[in-house]
Symmetry: C2
Subunit: 339 residues, 2 copies
């Protein structure tokens, strides 16, 4: 036994029904074994609260990754190496990795990424400087290729990826429209992130607002939500447009997912619905981060974060808030170990 105290872990208690409730999760405390050769021990500082988790806590064997009752809740964390028998990592190194919702993790180093908090604050390595920002960066610049004067719609515009994608599209010279769930978030998108137009999809006339904002139709739909907003927007796709399939947050918690019935508009408009997974771009993360750093330094880019202070047992309520649309940008659970 070591003298590190216990590891607090969050497990799935039962499959959620609809939006995940607090009692779908359960906390467990376990002794931390000594690390053996090649292993390292990581203390979690931040846990990324990601909507995609809801997709893998489904009672379905259809998806490749899956969290079953009794399994640790999947999440990316950013933390500090506090013990190491691995030559590639030293005590004091900061890392991110898919280590799950727990305070202490043992790893053999595989899949971990070192982060330099001097380059960007540790939490941001899970958000705008991490997977969320890189997803927005490569999905937008490599797959959507926005041109000056084009019009782009970002759904879930105030979310972790959307809040970055819209800013990148502005930097590319596009007209940027975002949809989100409240007036407050609309104001934030326009005033803080520079969106040209932000639309509250809870407004009865949201589609008319979208039509009015996109007289030349939508060259790009950067879709984070799926559902009726994406489906209706398909009727406005421009000739040879791109619908980037980044996420489907409105569908993750549905018993029966629904597909976009207006997909046939892609046919007549010679448009494409494009799937995307960030991991394909791993070799170019460093280049992207250089560019992102430049934009941050010259004041043309923000890394929006919505930080919830708490401990492991507070993850379920943060996760619930995420699906209630409370977050402005990337939601992070900041653990006691974080400075």
């Amino acid at each position: 036994m070591n003298n590190l105290g216990k590891n607090k872990k969050l497990l799935l208690a039962k499959y959620p029904n609809g939006l995940a409730e607090l009692d779908d999760f359960i906390t467990e405390e376990v002794e931390v074994p000594n690390i053996v050769d090649n292993e390292l021990l990581i203390q979690s500082h931040y846990v990324g609260v990601d909507a995609a988790l809801r997709l893998i806590v489904r009672d379905s064997d259809e998806f490749l990754f899956r969290v079953q009752p009794g399994d640790i809740i999947h999440a990316n964390i950013a933390g500090e190496v506090i013990a190491s028998n691995n030559k590639d990592f030293e005590v004091g190194d900061f890392v991110t990795g898919a280590l799950g919702v727990q305070s202490l993790s043992i790893s053999n180093g595989e899949g971990l990424e070192k982060c330099d908090p001097n380059l960007s604050p540790l939490g941001s390595w899970l958000g705008g400087f991490g997977v969320s920002g890189l997803t927005a960066y490569f999905a937008l610049f490599d797959e959507c290729k926005p041109q000056p004067g084009e019009t782009i719609l970002v759904t879930g515009a105030a979310g972790a990826v959307g809040s970055m994608a819209g800013q990148f599209a502005k930097l590319a010279g596009a007209k940027v429209i975002g949809t989100t769930s409240s007036k407050e978030k609309c104001d934030w998108l326009v005033n803080e992130l520079g969106y040209d137009v932000a639309i509250n999809y809870n407004d009865e006339n949201w589609y008319e607002q979208l039509e009015a904002a996109a007289p030349d139709r939508l060259n790009i739909i950067f879709d984070n939500t799926g559902g009726s907003v994406m489906n209706e927007a398909l009727k406005l796709i421009a000739m040879h447009g791109v619908v980037l399939l980044c996420g489907s947050t409105s569908q993750y918690y549905q018993d029966e997912m629904s597909g976009p019935s207006n997909y046939i508009w892609l046919g007549s408009m010679r448009a494409r619905l494009q799937g995307f997974v960030i991991f394909d771009y791993a070799e170019r993360y460093t280049d992207a981060r250089k560019k992102i750093s430049q934009w941050i330094d010259n004041g043309s880019l923000k890394l929006p974060e919505f930080v919830c202070d708490g401990d492991i047992e507070d993850f379920p309520s943060a996760f619930k808030k995420l699906f209630e649309g409370k977050n402005f940008g990337k939601m992070l659970l900041k653990l006691p170990a974080a400075k």
Copy 2:
């Protein structure tokens, strides 16, 4: 007045409800006016019976082309010039064009294409040698780019486009699987058109048959039908696969169309759903027809046609048969004027 007799036209009587019924159409006979300067008169020999018609006889203003009650039924025809005041066309020329379901058409020549019946029989200029075959050709070779050893699924495999697409995919060296609606058509696909595997989607275990036939997943889904077959097949799309959106015949007659709920598989598989419209390729039709002619000449390609003999008033029953899946290949209505 000229001495050509009357023109028999087919009009929409009322919007169909579900599958179009015979009494949704009405025949009208009208005098044919004399042609004026620059006009020509065409006698229809063949009428193409195309599923896409059902999409434009909907009571909806959502689609760009629309046939309303009282309008002539939209169709491509192949026929002969029988009078001409247009310097580009001579009596005896054969042409195709979107002239509608009628026995005689007056045109100013715009949008007409001359056909050489010595190159390929007149009816085939509406089918495998015409828009259907060209659609299959460019959608497959330009958008899907099948590689030797890849696996392709063609839905609606026995239809006008599907019956050509499957043959082209075989010529490209792919493994070709087709779905269709009867055992008889399955046999035809394999024995006549060289499909590797044909699956009757009315079989209870059709999906298991598909899984078994595609152990390396589906690099290409060439989709003519949409609906549940396409939706289920999405679960088998291969990494970086292409779903070519060619048609959605299962949806055209639905009050409420349904979208593919499994579209999120495109995300994890980095696949794309690609829209396509043949008219973008008009400048390359001649090149494609050269290639098609070579394959016909060396016996490696067939132009499957399902000819219904009849007159203008027989179009509705042919159209109904099309949606009942009676056709093997392109359905043509052969009019009395055809030799």
